[in-house]
Every structure is written in C-alpha cells, then in structure tokens.
Amino acid sequence: MEVGLTERLDSFVRKHNNRQLAAIPLAIFVIALLILAFTFASTGAPVKLGMEFKGGTMISVATEESVQSLEERFVDYPINDIRQTGSRVIMQFGPMNDEMQHDLISNAVGSYTSVEINQIGPVYGTSLQKQAVNAVIISFIGMAILIFLIFKTFVPSIAVVVSALSDIIIAAAFMNVVGIELSLGTVAALLMIIGYSVDSDILLNTRVLKRRGTPQENITSAMHTGVTMTTTTLAALIVMYLVSTYSYLLSSSLSQITLLSNISIVLIFGLVADLMNTWMLNTSILRWYVTKNGARRRKA
C-alpha cells in the first residue's frame, strides 16, 4: 500500500520541475490561509474556539432520553448544543452564575449515571486563549531556532520551517472546514504537529545534503524511509481516532473519548499535510538549492 504511494509520489516528484512541484502545496497553503482569514473576519479568532477557551459547562451523561426531552428538561439553563452519540448525550452550556451552576451540577449528578462534567470560567478561558497562542508561538520559534542550529544554512532551514508552518496552517484550516473546535486537546495536537512534521524534513535534508549520490537518488531513498515513518504514525493515530470516536457503534457500553478523538484527528490531518509539504514543498526548495550549489556540496 504505502510502497505504491511512495512510488507514485517519487515518479511525480521526478516528472515535475521545482516550480510545478512547489505550486500545489503553496496553493493549498494559500487556500488554508484564506480559510483562517475568513474565520477570523467572521468570528474574531482564526479557529472556532471551544468551550475551554470561551468558558461554559460541558455535561455528558448516559441516557436514552431524546434530544427534545433533554432540551425541555434543561430549558432554564443557557444550553448551546446537545449531541447524541450512542447511549450518551453531550450537552454544552454557556457561562452562568455560581448559583445556577450549582443547581445544574446537582441536577445532572442526581439524575444520571456515568456523568462527565467540565466547567471553565470565562475569565480563565480568556487567559487560556493567550496561553495557547503563546504556547504555539514559543514552540514554533523554538523549533525554527533549533532547525537553523542543526543545518546552519539558510535555504534548507527555511524550507523545513516553511513546511512546518504550512502543516499547522493546513491542519487549523481543516479544523474550521470540518467543524472541530479549538480545545486543549487540539492545541496539544497542533504542538505535536510541530514536533512530528520536522522529523521527515530533517531526514530529507540530512540525506540530500550529506550523502553521496545525485540529489534525486537521495530524495528517493529519503522518501522511502520518510513515507514509511509517516504512515506508521498515521496508522497509530487512525486506530486511536477510530477507537476513541466510533467504538460506541460496536457496543453501546463504549463511549466517545473526546480528548483522544480531537488529538488524533488533528494530528492525522497535520501528518497528511506533512506528506505533501515534505515531499513537494521542501523537496522542491531543496532540489533547487542543491542544483544551484551543486559544485560546493559537502561529501559524506
């Protein structure tokens, strides 16, 4: 399966010149940026903020009651959303005062089983937003500095950093498209993308810059290793996503684990974006760079 993917990708890379090769990921990068800009213009944040960042209460219970009857039951509270998955219902409430909060929680704990509650104050949510933005920026800058220290040359380093940036932007845009809200879990996933995405880029750059042989040969060999790496990670994440998201379809005794589901789906998309960015964007920049500097290349 992945051998087929690698070969198709390899021949695609060989057949197209650097400009053509870079065009596709750059176009997608621009589209992703537009999606984020559009979301920013309409909501004030580049991604849709989840309950943890806005403040509110999430209550998930095991119940056979219908959505309508639950809506009636909790009509006195600022309910935003009710979703049913298997034998569980997840309800989202907006911020409310302490007394109402107390009431709601006693109500939920008293009448249902298998209760999960998560409540965040709006003020704390706002400070969490800042922390999340800072975390992503700090991670990214830290990664960029490290990459420059490792390669010590401008073009290969910037290629890795741009690929990683594009991975995150595309993953974030994807969240907007399929309606995944930013939660602590998805922030963790975005940070993890920074960590994961550079793995294959570092491999590619090292092979191409430090190994004997033509750049194209080295790209091919790096691709064989790199695509295997990404597909193994994808395999682990897809399994995690399926188990945490859809296992309730197999048995009603199982339930969704939102945290794991969110982390895995965002990572999956980030890695798919990374396949493209590493083997088209980074590869084209690197191929252009080594061809230009062919004579001065270091030997292994």
């Binding site: 992945e2 051998v3 943890e52 095991a62 302490d98 107390h102 929680i105 006693s106 089983t113 298998s114 209760v115 999960e116 509650i117 409540q119 965040i120 104050g121 003020v123 704390y124 969490l128 922390q131 975390a135 992503v136 700090i138 991670s139 830290g142 990664m143 490290l146 990459i147 490792i150 602590l184 879990g185 922030v187 963790a188 940070l191 993890m192 920074i194 960590g195 994961y196 793995d199 491999l203 090292t206 060999s221 290793t225 295997t228 790496m229 990404t230 597909t231 193994t232 395999a235 682990a236 994440l237 399994v239 188990v243 945490s244 296992s247 339930s255 945290l259 794991l260 982390i263 895995s264």
Partner: protein, 564 residues
C-alpha cells in the same frame, strides 16, 4: 576496538545491559500482577479522569504593588472612612524610626476610637472644644490601613529589597489602585524604566497559606488524602477522588465552625463568640518583650464586646488563671490559654479589639502559632477566590475510559506492526521493532510508577504518540543500515548508525522543544501529554533505540534482507 566489539557477545554490550536493567527496573516499579479475585493490579496511579472523581480550580484574587502617599492625607482619609470625622492636619514628621502625625478636630475624639483605627499609639489633648491628636505610626501602617479600609480587604506590607511591597488580598485593577492612591496624594511606585510596580495575584507565601488552610479544612472533615496543589502563582487545584462534583462543591464552600469559649468552673465553659466575629488574622510574629511566638488577630465590635462581657461575668478579669480562653475548630480544641494580667485589667474598663494568642518561646511554638493562624481563619481563606474551573468523571465512566484507552494503545501498536510488516515483509525485523516499541511503553510506565506520576487520558494519548515517533526512529535506523539493500561492513555500519542517530537526536530535540510549553499551559491540564511525550522520547533515544541499533545487525546477519 572495533574488533573487540565484533567479538563481544551481544549480551555484554553496555547498551543491551542498560536496556535490560531499565526493563527490569520498570517492571519492579510497576509490579504488574494478575489474580482471579482482583483482576489486573499494578503500582500505577491513575488520574481522576480514569479512576473517577471531581476537581475544583480556583484563582486567588489579589494584587501586589509598591506604593507611596502623603502621610497627612492618609491619616485624614483613614479617620474619615472609619469614624466619619473631618480633621485638620497640623504637622507631619517623618523619620526613619516612624512617622508622627498631629491633627485637630472639632469633635471629641477618644482613646478607644483611636485604637480602633489600628494605626498606632495616640496622644490626645483637649482644649477649647478642639481635640488635638498626635499619632505615632509608620507610613507602611498608614498605607495598608487606608487601602484595607477602602477596599474592605486585608492589606499586608512586606519588606522587599528595594522598598515595601503591599499585598492587597482582593481583586483590584491597576487603574483602580492608582485612583485610590491619587486621593491620598500618592501613586504606584515605578521602577527604573518607568513601569509601575504592580502585579495581579498574591505572594507565594499567601498562596501557600491559602493552600494550607484548604488542606487543613478538607482533611479535618474526615476526608483523607484530598490533594490541594498550587499551580503557578495564583491558582489552586483540588482533586476529590471518588467524590462527585456537587458534593465536592458543598464541602469546599462550607466554612469551618470556629468558636471561642471561656472556662467557667471545672470542665465547664461558656460560649463567647464564633468565627464570624474575627475580623482579621495577621501573620505570626515574635514578641521580644515576653519572648513568645504569637498570632495577632482583630475582633469586630460585637466580638470585642462579647469577649469583654464574658470575661467580666465569668470573673476572668479578676482571676484570669482559672478561666482559660479556649478555641475550637469544628468542636476540636485547638488552643487554650488564660488572659494576660494586663489584658484582664484593661477589659474591666474597655473592650479590646486587637489580640495576640501566644504559644510559647521555642521553635515548636512557632509551628503551633502558624497552625493556630490557620485554625483562626476557620476555613475562611486569606484572599478572595474565584472558581475558574471544575469537572467530574464518575468512576464507571473512568473505568470505561481506561479500558478503551488501553485498547486504543494495543490496537495502535498492531496497526503500526501491520504497516511495518507490509514495508519490510520480514518477521525478523518486525519482532525487534515492535519489541522495542513495547519496551519503550513499559519504561514510560515504569517511570510513571517510580515517580508516582498519575496517568490520565492525556498521558495515554502521549504514550500512543510516542509509539508513533518511536517507530519512526526505528525506521530511520533500519533504512540507514540497509541503505544498499544489504547489511554493510562494520565500518560503514557504524558511520551509518551515527548518521541515523544525528537525525534522530535532531528530531527528538524538536519534539521535546515543541511539547515543553504544554507542561505549563492551562493548569497543566495536558501536562500528562507533554510529560509522557518528553519522557518517552528521552527513554527512546537514550535507552531503547541504541539497543535496537545494536541488535538489528545481528538479526539481519542471520536473516539476510532482500528489499527492492
């Protein structure tokens, strides 16, 4: 040396020995066990989201700032706020050892009114319907009293290296504080670059005191082992294992019952006042005069009068030694001592607002005074707190999450194994690869068990992510070694391995760097994810992957590869 290595048995290689020791140590710490009665048991700790329970997160409200103001204006405002009297400032004399403020008033001011202000010693003289008062005080005292009266909150001056810092134990914005200071001709002090020395939050000492009080209160309710943790400077996190959120909130919000009683005869005693009559409790001090540690506290009007009445009626003012004052917290005696002779004598005439509960001269007494300070607050916290977050996962759901997360982990490993098998088409490579990955997981769990780390859902997500990166790195090693499709000679092999490890170290460093902000973000809600990822990566690059690199040529020698 290389020759040696070639001849050396794989079992004597330090990388293999280290690997084996790490696995043995991990198993020793985890102590996995299965019995038919108890099922699978181990030494691992689980987070609340896997074992069931609830948690509360509170923010401590306050501000810390350096302030300056005019002493005369401060006195005028303080008298105005407390007594509603307008006064005229005559002179202000500021010296190193204190400040002397003299003022006059048309109304008659009494000694006990001055004492009620709580700013220092007053000398009062009357002439021609005009009262002249000289206050011996200090600027720190005046500023704290002024802010405390204006904001209805405790204000504690603390000496720091570059001046005096005021801790205001309620939420006050920089603008609001600046406005208050302008009234008394002052301002927030600025530092060398001109930035105001103002910080939202409380001092570390206050945060820790708040934590102690919460711990003390929760654990005195007979609920043992409720961990109260501080997070950052201003946040406190309380975990209630096995308790639902509604109950947890009731417990946390219920104040303790503090009572002062006075001994009458024999073991009998009568009620004097409850904790709500205690206005403020200050920090523990040491009295040079009698060489004792003490806790200062202030009573309300009603409290001071109640204590005076009880002391007179029981005869404690005449014979203090046989009428101890006894303090109870939730009906448990926490302090018992007689009135001092001077206090007893004064109570005959006037109520006393400021009290000191002395505990004794030695280090033990200091500890007792600190404990008493906590008890006196009776679960009332020194600062205002705001509930910023809470949550619950009940036990059945937690158990289900745990089983499902473990299932996800196992299936992820199978998924990875499947991809590896498809790529290399060789069982001989599959076994060491998957084996290395499994052993990395065992070592992460061993680390968790050894350090008492609580595994939560986020940690399990982290472990699955580590399985992902771990395998990536093994693929790099394998492919680097098999560059030409077959095992290269020893010399080339070693240089290849070095190159592979250069890539792996670089990749690992970026992962660790990318994850580290998560350790601190958001109450450490995802600390589990960050820590397992970081620890997993470190274990991988320093223990598991070197061992794999040592084993793989042996494996390939006995099972030659033929890749494309």
């Amino acid at each position: 040396m290389r020759d040696d290595e070639q001849q050396q048995s794989i079992y004597r290689d330090y990388r293999i020995i280290l690997f084996a020791l790490a696995i043995i140590a991990s198993l020793f710490f985890i102590q996995p066990w299965y019995s038919s009665d108890e099922g699978f048991t181990s030494n691992l700790n689980y987070g609340l989201d896997l074992q069931g329970g609830s948690w509360l997160q509170v923010k401590l409200q306050g501000a810390v700032a350096q302030l300056d103001a005019d002493s005369g204006l401060l006195v005028r405002e303080i008298v105005n706020i407390s007594l509603g009297e307008n006064i005229e400032i005559k002179s202000v004399d500021e010296r190193d050892d204190g400040t002397k403020v003299t003022f006059t008033s048309d109304s008659i001011l009494k000694n006990n009114q001055m004492e009620q202000l709580g700013v220092g010693q007053a000398t009062i003289s009357q002439s021609n319907n005009i009262t002249e008062v000289t206050l011996h005080t200090s600027k720190e005292n005046l500023i704290s009293t002024y802010l405390s009266d204006s904001l209805k909150a405790e204000v504690i001056p603390v000496l720091v290296s570059n001046g005096v810092q005021y801790e205001i134990r309620t939420a006050v914005s920089q603008e609001e504080l600046e406005r208050l200071m302008v009234v008394v001709g002052g301002s927030i002090v600025t530092d060398a670059i001109g930035d105001a020395i103002y910080k939202e939050g409380v001092t570390v000492e206050t945060r820790d005191l708040t934590k102690e009080i919460l711990s003390d209160k929760l654990n005195s309710l007979g609920l043992k082992d409720i961990p109260v943790k501080t997070v950052g400077d201003d946040y406190i996190l309380i975990d209630f294992a096995g308790i639902d959120l509604a109950t947890a909130k009731n417990i946390a919000e219920r104040p303790g019952k503090f009572e002062i009683r006075i001994a009458t005869q024999g073991n009998e005693s009568r009620h004097v006042l409850y904790g709500d009559e205690i206005q403020a409790v200050s920090i523990v001090g040491y009295n040079d005069m009698d060489g004792q540690w003490y806790v200062p506290f202030t009573l309300t009007d009603a409290g001071a009068l109640a204590l005076q009445k009880a002391a007179i009626e029981t005869g404690a003012t005449q014979d203090p030694l046989s009428h101890n004052l006894i303090m109870y917290l939730d009906d448990r005696e926490v302090y018992s001592a007689p009135l001092s002779h001077s206090a007893a004598a004064r109570l005959e005439d006037v109520p006393i607002y400021s009290w000191q509960a002395s505990t004794g001269p030695d280090e033990d007494s200091k500890a007792r005074a600190e404990q008493l300070q906590i008890h006196l607050r009776a679960g009332a916290l020194p600062v205002n707190v705001e509930l910023v977050g809470s949550g619950q996962v009940d036990a059945t759901l937690g158990k289900q999450f745990k089983e499902q997360a473990v299932l996800a982990g196992f299936l992820a490993l199978f998924g990875v194994a499947f991809v590896i098998y498809r790529k290399y088409n060789k069982k001989a490579i599959l076994l060491p690869m998957v084996g290395t990955s499994v052993s990395e997981v065992i070592m992460i769990l061993g680390f968790a068990a050894a350090t008492g780390w609580q595994l939560d859902l986020a940690s399990i997500a982290g472990i699955i992510a580590v399985i992902g990166t771990g395998i990536d790195h093994l693929v790099i090693i394998t492919d680097e070694v098999l560059y030409e499709g077959k095992l290269p000679p020893k010399k080339v092999y070693l240089s290849r391995i070095n190159k592979a490890f250069a890539i792996i170290f670089a990749a690992a460093a970026t992962t660790i760097l990318a994850m580290s902000p998560l350790v601190f973000m958001g109450f450490g809600a995802l600390k589990g994810f960050a820590i397992t990822t970081i620890v997993g990566v470190l274990i991988g690059i320093f223990i598991a992957r070197p061992a794999y690199a040592r084993v793989i040529p042996e494996v390939l020698e006995t099972n030659p590869m033929n890749t494309e």
